[in-house]
């Protein structure tokens, strides 16, 4: 697939639902700040409010992927600034393990990611969202997504 030109419309069509678990503190705060500043990002982003990214486990991530999500991400507070002590670090370890599982099952590990953001800076949230879209776009144009079995 990498040799032929992939039209942008095709990529756009393929990106529909990205489930983003955002923590109640910096995650939600940064998305709110981005909203207030009218920072545009892809409409495929769907935000689910959780208390802390440490609350999101493999069950939630697999549920989202099996129900048709193109990618899943967790957005928590900056490392060392978790409002619940260390939930973001625990989540980071979980996502790392999830990535390993995907790799061993023969899938790409690009569709599950952990990010951080700062409530005061909407750019951080938008940057995280853009990174998810970038990874998806590369996957669609080059290898194929998790829905294609890659």
């Amino acid at each position: 697939m990498s040799n032929c030109e992939v039209p942008d419309e095709y990529v756009q069509e393929r990106i529909n639902n990205i489930v983003v678990f955002m923590c109640n503190e910096c995650g939600q705060g940064s998305a709110n700040t981005a909203g207030v500043a009218r920072m545009a990002y892809d409409a495929a982003i769907r935000i689910i409010r959780v208390q802390c990214t440490g609350q999101v486990g493999p069950i939630q991530i697999m549920e989202a992927l099996t129900n048709g999500a193109d990618a899943v991400a967790c957005v928590g507070c900056c490392l060392g600034a978790c409002h619940f002590f260390n939930g973001n670090i625990i989540s980071m370890h979980r996502i790392k393990l999830m990535k390993k599982v995907f790799k061993e099952l023969g899938y790409s590990d690009e569709f599950v990611n952990q990010y951080t953001s700062r409530a005061a800076e909407g750019e951080t949230a938008v940057g995280d969202f853009e990174d998810i879209i970038d990874r998806l776009t590369t996957a669609i144009t080059e290898k194929g997504t998790i829905k294609d079995g890659c």
């Binding site: 489930v19 709110n32 409409a43 802390c52 440490g54 999101v56 493999p58 939630q60 002590f85």
Partner: protein, 671 residues
């Protein structure tokens, strides 16, 4: 649609034993903010067909009185028992609607806020079709989530009626006094041997040129003699445990080596052979190894400095009441308090790191700070209130004051303006000029910042008595190698002329910086700090006295630079907020806590290892139990459980699943 019908059947079956969910959906236009991008009528129509939805409407401003009334009416007329409002963020108006349904007798946790403004309409303004499609999914997710929302009880937690105040400067004294006047027992902890803080070191306070000792002494005396205030000097905080309402604090009290029967006669100090520079006097005078910091010091009991004492035992022998006792030991005291007020104040910035000003270097003794000048001018000074050069004791013919030393200076890492240096420099410049009309007093400033009542008048009166103001930050202080005179090199940026000012004495207006030792204290308190190092307030506008942790309040300059009037106001506010839960006697905590299904639990104890606030304990049967008061509702224990036995109420796997299927494309059917 087949999927939806199935779901409806399921929920009907499930709801036989419990009450059936009746959901009201309200979509807000928010003027054009939402309606301009999202087709709100379509969203409301779509929500109408969702299972269990009995009412779906859209309205111009849901947060307005008629909008809130609409939510209330739906509860009264249609028996709605769960509400979904698709409008702004949960932080903004989630509480408005939660309160409204609570007024109608429905638990406030049965309200689900869907954010279609910040998360949808404002960020997808260019693609209206996609924004509407997203809003449909978000509302469906909200409805799915609302369907299974449970009541969350709000429980009362008894508070300990006592408060701890750390630091006995003007802020700590004010807060202690205010708390004690409300009938709350106060433990006041001070690091130094005397109370009063920086304010006692000053000569005059701006703008009225009042004597600070006269202003503060009623407060120091009042606090020291208040029946409800227990004062610990020479004391430090060892550890702090617990949370809002119930803290347990360990205080370490260092010995004074002088017993309380000291009559403050001063015989011991008179005979002490050791002399060291006085810390309280900023090194402008000497003190003995057994000393009282200043004549009006409270507590008046003398104190022995163990580090400098040569143990000649003279003081023991000369004391007429045998109060000196070298065998006193440090003691540790544990107190239980409900609130903590942190009022540890500030330190004057140490200008030694600004190399061009040569502060503290040999041959530059005449470069001093404003606090040292205050000490020189004060009535109890060694110089008899005269301004004399520290190097040779002569009257200076020219004094240059340099502003913004350590503040507004990114080279030393302090970007902020201290805000009070202009005021005290002008005050001191005017006092010196009035005392010695023949002495040239020059102030080198970047901007003169004198906002507020009476301060501009003070600035003008300083100009009238002949204080010279030059706009420019001095680049260097140099010493003439032949005459030994100091010269301040500065460019007058208003007339664009480079100047070399002769200075017999240079006074640096040093910034206010966080006090030394705030790092260890901050980590014991477990509160956040701002990047400048001060303790961070909860919200700069709406709650400038609460710290990042509930039950710990900030008073005075520990939150940021302030003058005395601001500090007193800030401390009063901190005391009032700290007193509220103690006077009431309880706090209300929402029981948003996990519950454990012991049929599934295998007693592995993983949840205990992951719980950061240590709210999960293993009981005598080996089963984990949740301490509901200590729990902070993070839900980290949930994914750690291998059998899904522990579930956070209203964030259970089941509830999250419903929300996830709606937004991941599987559940939503969009035409």
């Amino acid at each position: 649609m087949a999927v939806k019908e199935e779901k409806m059947e399921e929920s009907k079956v499930g709801s036989e034993d419990s009450e059936e969910p009746r959901i009201g959906v309200f979509v807000c236009h928010c003027g054009h903010n939402i309606a301009g991008t999202v087709d709100v009528a379509k969203v409301a129509n779509y929500a109408k067909d969702l299972p269990n939805v009995v009412k779906a409407e859209h309205y111009m401003f849901m947060c307005s009185k008629p909008g809130v009334q609409m939510v209330k009416d739906s509860i009264k007329e249609l028996g709605v028992n769960r509400t979904v409002v698709a409008s702004c963020s949960k932080n903004q108006h989630g509480r408005t609607f939660a309160r409204a349904i609570a007024e109608e007798g429905i638990n406030k946790h049965r309200h689900q806020q869907v954010n279609v403004r910040e998360y949808c309409s404002w960020v997808h303004q260019k693609d209206k079709a996609k924004a509407t499609e997203k809003a449909l999914q978000l509302v469906e997710a909200g409805v799915n989530r609302a369907r299974k929302l449970e009541d969350v009880e709000t429980r009362r937690v008894q508070t300990t009626k006592a408060a701890l105040v750390i630091g006995a400067g003007i802020a700590g004294l004010r807060a202690s006094n205010d708390l004690a006047e409300l009938g709350i027992p106060v433990f006041l902890v001070e690091k130094n041997s005397t109370i009063g803080g920086h304010m006692t070191q000053l000569n005059k306070t701006f703008p009225t040129l009042e004597c600070p000792q006269c202003s503060i002494s009623p407060l120091t005396n009042g606090v020291a003699n208040h029946p409800l205030i227990e004062l610990y000097t020479n004391a430090q905080i060892k550890s702090i445990e617990g949370s809002l309402g119930n803290f347990e604090v360990e205080i370490e009290i260092k010995p004074r080596y002088v017993k309380d029967n000291c009559t403050s006669c001063g015989e011991c100090s008179l005979h002490c052979p050791v002399e060291v520079p006085s810390e309280w006097d900023k090194g402008m005078s000497m003190r003995n190894a057994i000393y009282k910091a200043y004549p009006q010091a409270i507590p008046a009991t003398f104190v022995r400095d163990k580090k400098t004492c040569i143990e000649c035992n003279t003081c023991i022998n000369v004391c007429p009441v045998q109060a000196v006792d070298f065998s006193m030991q440090p003691e540790t005291k544990t107190v239980k308090v409900g609130s903590i007020v942190v009022a540890v104040g500030y330190d004057e910035y140490d200008p030694t790191e600004i190399e061009p000003y040569h502060y503290g270097q040999d041959g530059y003794e005449d470069v001093i700070t404003q606090l040292k000048l205050e000490r020189m001018l004060s009535p109890t000074s060694l110089t008899n209130s005269e301004v004399l050069r520290p190097s040779d004791g002569k009257l200076p013919k020219s004094i240059v004051m340099i502003q913004c030393v350590g503040s507004r200076n990114e080279q030393v890492g302090n970007k902020y303006c201290t805000g009070v240096c202009c005021k005290f420099a002008i005050k001191n410049a005017r006092i010196v000029k009035e005392m010695y009309p023949d002495t040239d007093v020059t102030v080198c400033y970047i901007d003169v910042r004198t906002p507020g009542l009476n301060f501009e008048e003070m600035y003008q009166s300083a100009q009238e008595v002949g204080v010279r103001f030059i706009r420019g930050r001095p680049s260097e202080i140099v010493k003439d190698p032949i005459t030994g005179e100091l010269k301040v090199i500065v460019e007058d940026t208003l007339s664009m002329t480079p100047l070399q000012l002769n200075a017999d004495m240079v006074v640096l207006s040093a910034a206010m910086v966080p006090p030394k030792g705030i790092g260890p204290l901050g980590s014991k308190l477990k509160v956040l700090r701002s990047k400048e190092g001060f303790l961070k307030e909860f919200h700069i506008k709406m709650n400038p006295t609460l710290s990042s942790k509930g039950g710990i309040f900030l008073a005075g300059t520990i939150q940021g630079p302030k003058d005395i009037s601001e500090t007193v106001a800030h401390a009063g506010s901190a005391a009032a907020l700290a007193a509220a839960p103690l006077v009431k006697g309880y706090i209300e905590k929402e029981m948003l806590v996990p519950s454990i299904d012991y049929d599934l639990c295998v007693n592995c104890g993983i949840c205990k290892t992951i719980c950061a606030p240590a709210a999960i304990d293993i009981d005598e049967n080996g089963r984990p139990t949740v301490n509901e008061i200590a729990c902070r509702s993070c839900g980290m224990c949930m994914p750690s459980c291998p059998t899904n036995a522990i579930q956070l109420i209203n964030f259970t796997d089941d509830q999250l699943y419903d929300e996830i299927i709606a937004v991941s494309g599987g559940g939503a059917v969009c035409e």
